[in-house]
């Protein structure tokens, strides 16, 4: 390693310090949640709080899946809640499907608007209007429609809404990535005889893979944590994890332990998804390699 002089050492130390600070700020809440999830009821809101549980226990996790299990003495408090399995399965069905649909539609739509100016210059802005009102403004009319269609408390209702509400994000995020693909690269493929679909699938799509991954992860997290619509449109059959979290609030108080445990369990799929696609996230757009 090359030698550093005084000012470089200082600069390097400051960088490390700032990095460390950011890590603490980011990690602290997660660590705190993890800590609570391992604490017995008497420690949840004890004062002074301790970061490390005094009497660590897995009972909060067990309660999630077996609400009636007497372990840890909290069963009678949360027995009103269903096992989280159903919410988990619902979330794992609804969110990936809605995310995939949103990213696919968003990708195709943004390609059409960028390359062919489909719908004119205003179409992308028009799509954005779906985000100009809070979702709750749409909730009541949608509730009426879905009632008529018999879609209340179904996974399909959530899939439709999550797809629709995130298309604006997908479209706008993908626009930037598609604009980054040099037009000449596509033209070269066209001159080689490729049809528009072939150009899209074999040239453009692989080149914006990183963008698709980033958009997908973003939309996935958005949908995974969505509470309001899920709360309004589901009751028992199609409820999702965020709604399930709210069920650990009872007449006698908030059950921080199971809530925290569910928070930890619920973040696992997101972390896994992020981990799987991270190599696409850092593809680093090398179009700048040759000046445009």
């Amino acid at each position: 390693m090359r030698k550093m002089n005084g000012s470089q050492i200082l600069a390097s130390s400051i960088r490390w310090l700032i990095g460390l600070l950011i890590c603490i700020v980011v990690m602290l809440p997660i660590t705190w949640v993890l800590s609570i999830s391992l604490k017995p009821p008497e420690e949840w809101v004890a004062y002074p709080p301790t970061l490390v549980p005094l009497k660590p226990t897995f009972s909060n996790y067990i309660i999630l899946f077996q609400p009636g299990n007497p372990v840890g003495g909290i069963a009678e408090m949360v027995s009103s809640a269903e096992p989280v399995t159903r919410a988990f399965i619902n979330s794992l069905i609804v969110v990936p499907i809605a995310t995939a649909a949103s990213v696919l539609i968003g990708f195709l739509a943004s390609y059409a608007t960028v390359r062919f100016q489909a719908g004119g210059a205003t179409l992308p802005l028009f799509v954005l209007t779906t985000r100009m009102f809070p979702p709750v403004a749409f909730a009541v009319p949608l509730l009426v429609y879905f009632r008529m269609l018999n879609l209340i408390d179904t996974q399909l209702a959530l899939i439709l809404m999550y797809t629709g509400f995130t298309i604006a994000f997908s479209l706008w995020m993908m626009r930037g990535f598609i604009e980054g693909v040099p037009r000449h690269v596509e033209e070269a493929a066209i001159l080689d005889g490729a049809s528009p679909w072939r150009v899209l699938l074999t040239i453009t799509l692989p080149l914006v893979r990183g963008g698709l991954a980033a958009t997908g992860l973003f939309v996935f997290i958005l949908n995974w944590t969505e509470f309001l619509l899920a709360q309004i449109f589901t009751s028992r059959e199609a409820l999702t994890i965020p709604v399930q979290v709210s069920h650990y609030v009872g007449a006698v108080g908030r059950f921080y332990g199971p809530m925290a445990a569910l928070g930890i369990v619920a973040s696992i799929p997101v972390v896994v998804a992020g981990y799987i696609i991270q190599r696409y996230l850092v593809t680093g757009f090398t179009f700048g390699l040759v000046r445009e």
Binding site: A189, D192, G193, S195, T202, L289, V290
Partner: protein, 372 residues
């Protein structure tokens, strides 16, 4: 030059407008099979647009494009079978060199064994065999260029269109690649249309050059002829480095003798009298053009040379390695002259100035067309 037999591409009254801005206007052109044709002009003169219309990447606003006598004006680019080398090569970054070369063949549903054979063959002829399995984004510039060439050649196009392919090279390498390109063209025997704004490139590479200005053809001819007989003021001032000296003068006749006059500066051009008077048709104003490299300090031979009536004064000497650029004052005109690097000229020096009569250029002041 072009007879019907070997004519490959014909452009007729080609015109292209972008949102009301005219990019190309009234362009006629015949491209002969096997020739190396250069489109030369300043940026924005419409040369790339013309190339893209030949490829089908732009649709002409008016006029027609013919390929072997067949009208292809509105044929989609996929069906034209033209090769196009883009300024930035536009390689498929996410593929290997092999996949880049095979792409066009796969699209055309060529049999896999055939694809492999043809890819390897073209790779060998452009010295790409060693990098066939490298990713395109990892290549250096000159290899990228060869891949871009190979990729367009592998589908055996009728014509190869090149859009400033040497622009990304630093000066030294650029001259080297220019030589390479010329060698390939001779070796491959393909028809090539080459767009450039660099006159040296056009002069060295082109069998013919189409000089373009503001969307129109300024001149179409061999490099030598364009240099020696520029058709108008634009070509005269665009071709040649430093550019041709252009001086506004007046034509007068005194007895038997004819002169070009600018205040007290006179040039006896009696031998050209008849020609000039025919071309002038009553006009007296015209533009005299002399190339800096054709000027010479005296003494001059009796025959075939003309001499300015006033001596030139050296205003500035700009020495280069093998030649010197001199800024000269002659009367109130400032003109440039190129001499050998060893010629001992100093600032303030005075000497008689002249040039061979056959090197004279005269241009009409309003039409800007050459008169001789």
């Amino acid at each position: 030059m072009a007879d019907q037999q070997n004519m490959l591409i014909r452009l007729e009254r080609l015109r292209k407008e972008f949102n009301g801005v005219i990019a190309v206007e009234g362009l006629d052109l015949d491209v002969v099979e096997g020739e190396f044709l250069c489109f030369l002009g300043p940026s924005g003169c419409g040369k790339t647009t013309t190339l893209r219309m030949i490829a089908g990447l732009e649709t002409p606003t008016a006029g027609d494009v013919y390929l072997r006598g067949r009208r292809i004006t509105h044929l989609p680019p996929q069906q034209r079978n033209v090769g196009f080398v883009f300024q930035n090569y536009a390689l498929f970054w996410h593929m290997t060199v092999y996949e880049n070369l095979a792409f066009g063949l796969r699209v055309r549903n060529v049999a896999p064994a055939d694809i492999d054979h043809r890819v390897k063959e073209i790779a060998a002829s452009l010295e790409l065999t060693d990098v066939l399995h490298e990713r395109a984004r990892r290549l250096d510039l000159s290899t990228m260029q060869r891949v871009a060439m190979a990729r367009t050649l592998v589908t055996d196009p009728e014509v190869l269109l090149l859009d400033e392919p040497l622009n990304n090279f630093r000066p030294g390498l650029r001259e080297m690649m220019r030589g390479e390109l010329k060698r390939w063209q001779m070796h491959l025997g393909r028809t090539m249309i080459y767009v450039t704004h660099d006159q040296e490139e056009a002069m060295t590479l082109g069998d013919r050059i189409l000089v373009m200005n503001a969307g129109r053809c300024a001149q179409l001819d061999t490099p030598r002829h364009i240099y020696e007989h520029p058709a108008n003021l634009f070509v005269a001032s665009f071709i040649g480095r430093p550019p041709m000296n252009l001086i506004d003068v007046r034509y007068t006749v005194e007895g038997e003798k004819a002169f070009l006059v600018r205040d007290s500066l006179r040039l006896d051009i009696t031998p050209l009298r008849e020609k000039i008077e025919r071309a002038l048709a009553g006009e007296t104003q015209l533009v005299l053009g002399v190339r800096p490299e054709h000027l010479s300090p005296g003494p001059f031979p009796e025959e075939g040379w003309v001499q300015f009536s006033l001596p030139a004064v050296v205003d500035l000497v700009q020495p280069l390695a093998r030649k010197k650029f001199l800024d000269l004052k002659i009367g109130d005109a400032l003109i440039k002259m190129v001499v050998s690097g060893t010629a001992p000229f100093r600032q303030g020096e005075r000497f008689p100035l002249g040039f061979p009569l056959h090197r004279i250029h005269l241009f009409h002041p309003t039409t800007e067309e050459a008169m001789l």
